[in-house]
Symmetry: C2
Subunit: 430 residues, 2 copies
């Protein structure tokens, strides 16, 4: 048995407390796996009196989390505070610079500062690991970084936000609208009081930027991720999608194209029989398409104390066992610069739903515009009739570039008979 790896846990929310509990209660088993003991020597949290379900009486406490970076009895810091800046960032920077390994669940921090932090870690010869930052308990980071390392990744995509997936699943099952289901999700604890990060797609975009950096060996490039959330999804679109044979999922997609690496987070229509379409509720799934391995899918819980702690401790045991990998799969100095592909160059099928005055000639106008922009319609549905009232019309198109589609939609929106801004969703084929 080697020397004890001494762990400081910063942040004792549900994830931090569960991480500390498992590290302490399963110390013997983890030591057998790692080949050396792992001990929690220090923690940091504001409220020292709260019962967290774990005995921390023999562990040093720090009021200020950043102090963990300076402690001589800490070899590895678990950063479970969160946030792209502030205390979490200072702690991670200082810990790495002090030659301490860092394991973090903080996707926002890494999406914004991942490349710089990777450089700091490498300069000081320590590990920066973040399995828990993407898709919770699913071991997708090590799969991409190690297991599938020989593959050229053509595409990596996934359901990366359990809150959005829960809301979309519930909307489809119940026919209720977004606001109603969001309120329920908040009551059940599946959505935050301030849901913006989740439902506007930002959280999924953080995770996507990390997957893309790993898959393509490029610097983390969060700023160019195209992000659309799920607020605009209406029950009528879910019903139409169903009639066309699709489900609506919020996906994060990174793909290598001739124009560069495109990163996008938006609601998508996916065919009902696609494996990703079967992922319901709070579950996450990540699909990797590699030229050697083909398609692999990795499914599990994307959040929660247990799944997140599971991933955090996997990283801690790697450090204890001396298993090291570059943060984004290759040394930070060897990462290529970001090379973002503009959304306008996307080739995709589209779903469009219009609210139109039900009178003769409207569809002729719409289809003429599509023809003029070389958009080829695949199917069209108008449910019911209601002369001179506003009715929905939905259509899907064959593959066309996004620039043409947007031009067509801008013209369609100006038609007098079109009563609302058109709803547009991209169709993603697998």
């Amino acid at each position: 048995m080697g020397e004890t790896l001494r762990v400081g846990v910063a942040g004792l929310g549900t994830v931090g407390a569960e991480t500390a509990r498992l590290l302490i209660e399963r110390a013997d088993a983890l030591a057998a796996h790692a080949g050396r003991p792992i001990a929690v020597t220090a923690v940091s949290a504001r409220d020292r009196t709260r019962d967290r379900g774990v005995d921390l009486s023999r562990v040093a406490w720090e009021e200020d989390a950043t102090a963990l970076a300076a402690r001589d009895d800490v070899d590895l810091v678990c950063e479970l505070i969160g946030g792209s800046d502030g205390v979490a960032k200072i702690l991670v920077e200082r810990a790495l610079a002090a030659g301490k390994h860092v394991v973090t669940a903080n996707k926002a921090l890494l999406a914004h500062h991942g490349t710089v932090l990777a450089r700091i870690g490498e300069a000081h010869g320590v590990t920066l690991a973040y399995e828990s930052a993407v898709a919770g308990g699913i071991p997708i980071i090590r799969a991409l970084r190690e297991g599938l390392v020989v593959n050229r990744v053509t595409r990596v995509y996934g359901i990366l936000n359990g809150t959005c997936n829960y809301i979309l699943s519930a909307m489809r099952e119940s026919g209720r609208d977004f606001a109603d289901v969001l309120a329920e999700a908040q009551a059940l604890g599946y959505a935050e009081a301030d849901p913006a990060f989740d439902v506007d797609g930002v959280d999924a975009a953080h995770k996507l930027a990390l997957l893309a950096a790993l898959a393509y060996g490029r610097e983390v490039d969060f700023d160019t991720v195209h992000i659309e959330g799920i607020r605009p999804i209406s029950p009528i679109d879910i019903a139409y999608a169903d009639e066309f044979g699709f489900r609506i999922k919020l996906l994060g997609i990174a793909e290598e194209t001739e124009a560069g690496v495109r990163q996008r987070v938006h609601p998508c229509l996916v065919r009902q029989d696609a494996p990703i379409a079967q992922v319901e509720g709070v579950f996450n799934a990540v699909v990797v398409e590699g030229d050697a391995v083909g398609t692999t899918l990795h499914y599990g819980r994307g959040a929660g104390a247990g799944p997140t702690a599971s991933a955090v401790i996997g990283d801690v045991v790697d450090v204890a066992a001396g298993r090291r990998a570059p943060v984004f799969g290759r040394p930070a100095s060897a990462l290529l610069p970001a090379n973002p592909a503009a959304m306008e160059t996307l080739e995709s099928g589209y779903y469009v739903r219009l609210m139109v005055t039900d009178r003769p000639g409207v569809l002729a106008d719409v289809t003429a515009i599509l023809r003029d922009e070389h958009v080829s319609m695949e199917s069209m549905l108008q449910r019911g009739r209601d002369p001179m009232e506003t009715v929905p019309v939905a259509l899907t198109t064959h593959e066309v570039d996004e620039a043409s589609m947007r031009r067509a939609l801008a013209k369609i929106a100006k038609l007098e008979a079109v009563r609302e801004a058109p709803a547009m969703l991209r169709i993603v084929e697998f």
Copy 2:
């Protein structure tokens, strides 16, 4: 950059050739990932003249694969010959004993000799890696051994044989019988000329024994795996299963019970909406149920040159990068002895299909026997009527111990109106 890792590839079938090709053609990218060059220095195959799609003119050739173990210019041997004994075993033993790392896709070898080989590798300080031996390109070994390491695994199960899954999928879709679909699978190259290892469940059992050793930290225990194959599955059972809301899948299941670790491979009825039921054709999937992470599912191609080579090279890069893990997750000396649970102690629901003479009183006799053995019937289906002719009757039971179920079936089989041996399949709930 460190010293070059020198690789010898034993066996140049489709997997070996693809492994050599990717190692050679992607040497630069792999070196960036590993932090040191990886070079193929020697290969072994019988026919030196065959075009394998890769230039091996600058690589040493050995007629006798076992000679790779003695070469000074080989640090790591990829054993891609196959077979539980013979050349593959001699090569692996000698390579490990000579202080060379071994990466193997050979599930049969490890199922039979894994614990002993792990000891030899550890004694000589070298790695024995086998990601490619289980579920092809899916990185499930590292997921279980590293990513999910803190979890107590309650159950690990999966579709571990693509041939069987292809045959069952095709039988369901076409309504054809086993022999017919097997012949087609052989023509398409999805089944071997001698299909016994696959269709009789032996290949799945090899893989299951490795997953169980990893999940439960016990010595590999292939000999006590309960194995049933898919030959007895008839179209009538697939149709009844469908009516009851199930699909039939050949699963390998390892589970910790009060009686010990039960390992079993047999056709199962799984609910149509279970994620594992969605896995069709030649795909594999492995589900891990851990107490912290919950349920994770890992899906991909279970065989083929590309997926297998992908997994082999993941292991090679681990060795090159100095990432090491004990063969079965903990040192061989710390593995617990096998502790098999007998099938008789299984608690399960059952599907039973009888061929009976269609006359009054038969079902009364059957249900009386079930009652006497405390087997509680859940549902029953008799399709059509044909007085005094032989007709099928299918039923499902609530959970009961297998010993009771077998006693009941033995009695039912002796009823005069029961014209064939009863078909029995276990229902697996997720």
